[in-house]
């Protein structure tokens, strides 16, 4: 049963990622990406890391993709403005895809990490209480840093996309 869920989720993830890349219309790409994110959240849920799944949906599908969709609509992009790349570049892209896949798989096979069977000790390491404790005890400094980073990003975004008062 879980196997079937896993394979379906994987299929959705890969398929929608592929469609994101292939679609001519940017809005279609964005929507496919949302689907892909949902499926990845499903993977997280399968792992029993509920908090991360929720946060994933909220942040990625709920914020980042909305941002991208807004930007696409702001720039009025649609399929008629899409110019396809020359054929050589497409071939090159396919080649690179294969190449990096090969490199990754080969390095994995070559090094052949010893993967033992999973033994569950039943320890609770990823419930929200535990995560909260860890975040605010060991990783409090990166936590605060992340907060500062987000603040800077916000300010930066506002600054960069400000219209010049002179050029109206």
């Amino acid at each position: 049963m879980i196997e079937i869920i896993f394979y379906i989720l994987s299929a959705i993830t890969l398929g929608s990622a592929f469609m994101t890349v292939i679609s001519k219309n940017p809005i279609h790409s964005a929507l496919w990406l949302v689907v892909s994110f949902f499926s990845i959240a499903g993977h997280y849920a399968l792992f029993n890391s509920q908090f991360l799944a929720m946060v994933h949906i909220i942040v990625y599908s709920g914020a980042i993709m909305i941002l991208m969709l807004f930007t696409i609509m702001l720039m009025n992009l649609n399929i008629s403005q899409e110019i396809s790349k020359p054929f050589v570049t497409k071939i090159v892209a396919v080649v690179c895809f294969c190449l990096i896949g090969l490199a990754l798989v080969t390095s994995l096979v070559q090094n052949a990490p010893v993967i033992e069977a999973y033994t569950s000790t039943g320890k609770d390491f990823q419930s929200i209480q535990v995560l909260g404790k860890i975040l605010l005890n060991e990783f409090v400094v990166p936590f605060e840093m992340a907060a500062v980073l987000l603040l800077m990003a916000m300010i930066g975004a506002v600054l960069i996309s400000k219209k010049d008062k002179t050029t109206a």
Binding site: L33, I83, F97, G101, Y118, I134
Partner: protein, 106 residues
């Protein structure tokens, strides 16, 4: 209920995230639209996140998930800034076709 890792085994997750990463690379080199390139970058980030969570579960260590947490925060910040820059470029050039961004030509 048995853990998913006992049923499926971690190598499947490794292959899944590998494939997702390669799709992301393919996307960057294949498309010329800057927004879609951003999306491909997000796909790659997600692949890494997925693998991190898988291994975090495998070793029963929460550090992996904390790392994912921070990665997501950085990804969000990056997207915000990147899109702001794109908007600024769009205002100057009128298109976001990256082949027109050649001012660094040496």
């Amino acid at each position: 209920m048995e853990h998913v890792l006992q049923i499926i085994g971690i190598d499947h997750y490794i292959y899944l995230s590998l494939l997702l990463f390669c799709i992301g690379v393919f996307g960057i080199l294949y498309r010329r639209n800057a927004i879609v390139m951003f999306m491909s970058i997000e796909i790659m980030l997600n692949a890494a996140n997925l693998l991190l969570v898988a291994f975090s579960n495998y070793h029963e260590d929460a550090n992996g998930q904390v790392f994912v947490f921070f990665t997501m925060a950085v990804a969000a910040a990056e997207v915000a800034i990147g899109l702001a820059i794109l908007v600024a470029i769009y205002r100057n050039i009128g298109t976001i076709d990256i082949d027109n961004l050649k001012n660094l030509k040496g």
